[in-house]
Symmetry: C2
Subunit: 206 residues, 2 copies
């Protein structure tokens, strides 16, 4: 049985951990605050474990479920401990006033994360276009991914399918820029035209 | 009965004109090449008319259905003739190799268009997240819009509903950046994970 490591203990970490636990896979929760990691593991109540912050995660797939503002620092704290891992970047690098993105022009949160991990690790963008509470509710949602490494992308696709999601590859890691813009667009949609945060974006193949 | 003016005679102009004609509204086709405008009007065969390139369009809503590379020049050719109009910018400012967007950092095709029109005209971003051939097929597709002027946005929403589309406001005109990124994302999706160009992105309200 696979172990999936999740760094973080906030809303998205909890939503993803919940789906992983329900899929029958082992969740390893890792947080700078070990009490928060333990609380989330206890809440999952399915053999979830906690890992040591900064040490090598147990899973080959590591979900970096922390805010954009701290992602680089967290990656630095783990350093070479992430070597060989598939890192899932879920960040939505949105300005506090939701007016735009905080990333440097021509880059994305995922590309910035990729700069700070060992050469043997690969970043895959995923989960940022699904609201945490919608993810937690369940259902077969569409999940867009972007990555440069083909093998890492296949692994994450398989992982997403194991959670009951429908993965869609949108291209190389630079396409994370479009997915992060889509994350911002969904926030704008929630605040304006949709009138609710309870929605998902789906691909209608006709 | 409303008249909708469409500047352009390419694939998207044809797809939009077809839906307008089927809705029972009058289409005015305007092209730098009047023969092309006449050919599209004849093809519509529903009382469609042609307008003089550079003169004031007949419709209060003017769809600027030309490529991003020529949008600014076309707006300049019309100049004050566009005063008071609601201009729909449909551009996807995508690089020829589809690797990224051609717009200046922090801007969008729609915002660039807005710089070149009279102060009494308003730009609304729309249609760029629906492939032309999907739009032409019909069906109740979701149509995302962004604009600063509230009245112009309401008019375009009503117009989109008259075409059988479901409009969704994503915010101010700067949010056109997210819609244009979404256009690029859809191209990446078509080339990668979707394996087809026959799809639409829909909002699932659960």
């Amino acid at each position: 049985m696979s172990t999936i490591s999740i760094i973080g203990s906030g809303g998205m970490a909890t939503a993803i951990a919940g789906r992983v636990a329900r899929s029958g896979q082992t969740v390893e929760v890792i947080s700078r605050d070990n009490a928060k990691a333990q609380a989330l593991a206890d809440q999952l109540a399915s053999g979830a474990i906690t890992g040591k912050y900064g040490a090598a995660p147990a899973g080959d797939i590591v979900v970096l479920a922390v805010p954009y503002a701290s992602a680089a620092a967290v990656a630095a704290d783990f350093g070479k401990a992430l070597d060989g891992k598939v890192i899932i970047d879920i960040t939505n690098p949105v300005a506090p006033d939701l007016s735009g993105l905080l990333t440097p022009p021509g880059s994305s949160g995922a590309q910035e994360t990729a700069k700070g991990i060992p050469a043997g690790a690969h970043v895959v963008k995923a989960f940022n276009t699904i609201f945490g509470h919608v993810l937690a509710k369940g259902g077969r949602l569409d999940a867009f991914i972007a990555a440069d490494d083909a093998k890492a992308k296949v692994r994450v696709s398989t992982f997403l399918e194991s959670l009951g999601l429908r993965p869609f590859d949108v291209g190389g890691l630079q396409m994370a820029q479009t997915l992060e813009a889509l994350g911002l667009m969904m926030i704008g949609l929630a605040k304006n035209g949709a009138g609710t945060w309870d929605f998902a974006l789906n691909v209608d193949l006709g």
